[in-house]
Amino acid sequence: MKKYSAFSLVRHALSHNRKWREAWRSPDPKREYDVIIVGGGGHGLATAYYLAKEHGIRNVAVLEKGWIGGGNTGRNTTIVRSNYLWTEASLLYEHSMKLWEGLSQDLNYNVMFSQRGVYNLGHTLQDMRDIERRVNANRLNGIDAEVVNAEQIGKAIPFINTSPDARYPILGASLQRRAGVARHDAVAWGFARAADALGVDIIEQCEVTGIVRDNGRVSGVETTRGTLRAPKVGVVVAGNASVLATMAGLRLPVESHPLQAFVSEPLKPVLDTVVMSNAVHGYISQSDKGELVIGAGIDAYNGYGQRGSFHTTEHTMQAIIELFPVFSRVRMLRQWGGIVDVCPDACPIISKTPVGGLYFHCGWGTGGFKATPGSGWVFAHTIAQDRPHELNAPFDLERFTTGALIDEHGAAAVAH
C-alpha cells in the first residue's frame, strides 16, 4: 500500500493525478480461506482489518453482494457517540469512540471524524430526569457527558427554537462534546484499503447463497462465484441477517425494517453540532458539503424494500421543523431507506452460534455506524479466539434465553 500524505498529493499533482493506484485490489476468490466474512459493510471490513492487524489472520475474504460503500454504511446519518445508559452498552460504544479518535492515523485514510458534540434534547420534566440519570451513569463509566439548560442551548445553537411557547418546549439537553460525525464512505473505503494492504481479499459482486455445514460445523459458503471453503465464517449483513440465519438453520430475534434518511440541498454553514430529540423524534447535523443530514424513526412494518412510507417522511420533517423553524423552506435533495435489523432490546448480537465456526454480528438496528471500529474489533476477537471478548460477552445470542437483556430502548438517549 502506498502511504497517503501531503507529499504524495504534491507528487501526484505533478503527474496530473494520472498515477493514483486503486485503493484495494479486485482479486478472484481463492477456493479456501481461514476466515470468510459475509458482508462488506463497515462492520465486516473492520472485522477483517482487525483480524489481520490484531490477530495475524490474513487469509481472509470479505464477500460483498453489491459494492463497497453501497449499503447502509454509505447511507446513514453518520452520528458517532457513546452516551448509552447501561454499562454493557456504554463500554462497547466507548471502546469504539476511542478507536474513532485515532482511526484516520491508524488507517492512513481521512475518515473526517469531527468531534463537534451531540446534544440529546429533553422536552419534558421526565426527559430531563432521564437525561440527568444517563449523564451520571456516563460519568461513572468514564464517558464525558454534561447537562445543559435551554439558555445554554440557545446560545450554542443559532436558530434552534428554545421558546417556552413551542409545542414541545426544549427544557435542556445532555451534551457529549467528544461525540460527532464521520464521513461514512471514507470509513468503508479506509477499512477496505487498510484490510487489503494486510492481505485480505475483498470480493465485490459476490452474493452468498448458502452456508455449507458438516456435522454441526460450518465448512464454507456457496456463492454466485462458486463454493468457498473456510473453517470459520462471520456473518455481518445487517438487514439480511435473518435470511442468512435461515440458510444455516437458525432463527434470530431480529426483525428488518426500513429506516429513512434525508439530505437537503447544500446551505451555508448553519449548524456546527449534532442535535437529536427523542420526544419529537428526529436528528440533524450539517455535512461539510453543507447539506443537512436528517433522520428519524423506522417504518413500523417488516420490510426489505429499500424505501419507506410517506407518512414517516412527513413525521421526520415535522420533527425537524419543530426544532428548527428556519429550515421549513429548505428542499430535500435525496431520500433513501436502509434496511435495519432490530433486536427486542435495541442492542446488537455479536456472538457465537449453535453451529460451530459460525459467528453472527447483527441486530444493530438504527445505530450501528457509531460502533463500526469497536464492533469490528470485538468481532475479530470473537472469531480469532472462538470466544467473546469481555466487551461483547453480554451481547451474546444466549441473552435471549437467560433473560439478561440490555434494555437500551428509549434509555439510549434517542430514537430506535
Binding site: N240, S242, V243, T246, R251, L252, P253, V254, E255, S256, A300, Y301, N302, G303, Y304, G305, S309, F310, H311, D341, P344, F400, T401, T402, G403
Partner: protein, 93 residues
C-alpha cells in the same frame, strides 16, 4: 404509504392502522412445561422472511379490530386480508 384493506371497513390508508408483527404465533398452552430456549423462541425469535409474510394489523383509528394481512416484504404488495378466528394468532378462517 400502504393501502390496507380492513376486512370490516374496506381499504384505508396505512396511517389508520397500527402494526402487530408476525401472525400465527400461538402462545404456548403450558409455558411452565417449556425449556428456557423454547420460551425464548416463542417470545423473541421471528421468521422475518424476505418475501411473503403473514402479519397482524389493528385498525386503530377505525373499528379497532385485529386482522391478518399477507404482504410481500420486498415489493410491499398486499395479496389479501383475512379475519382471525380463535384469537389474534389463530390463523385465517
Amino acid at each position: 404509504m400502504l393501502l390496507i384493506e380492513c376486512p370490516w371497513c374496506g381499504e384505508r390508508a396505512e396511517t389508520e392502522f397500527s402494526y402487530g408483527g408476525e401472525a400465527g404465533i400461538a402462545r404456548p398452552a403450558d409455558p411452565d412445561a417449556l425449556t428456557d430456549a423454547e420460551w425464548a423462541d416463542y417470545l423473541f425469535n421471528r421468521s422475518n422472511p424476505r418475501g411473503a409474510h403473514r402479519e397482524l394489523w389493528n385498525h386503530a383509528q377505525g373499528c379497532r379490530r385485529w386482522f391478518g394481512v399477507e404482504r410481500d416484504t420486498v415489493t410491499y404488495r398486499i395479496s389479501g386480508s383475512y379475519r382471525l378466528s380463535g384469537g389474534a394468532h389463530g390463523g385465517g378462517d
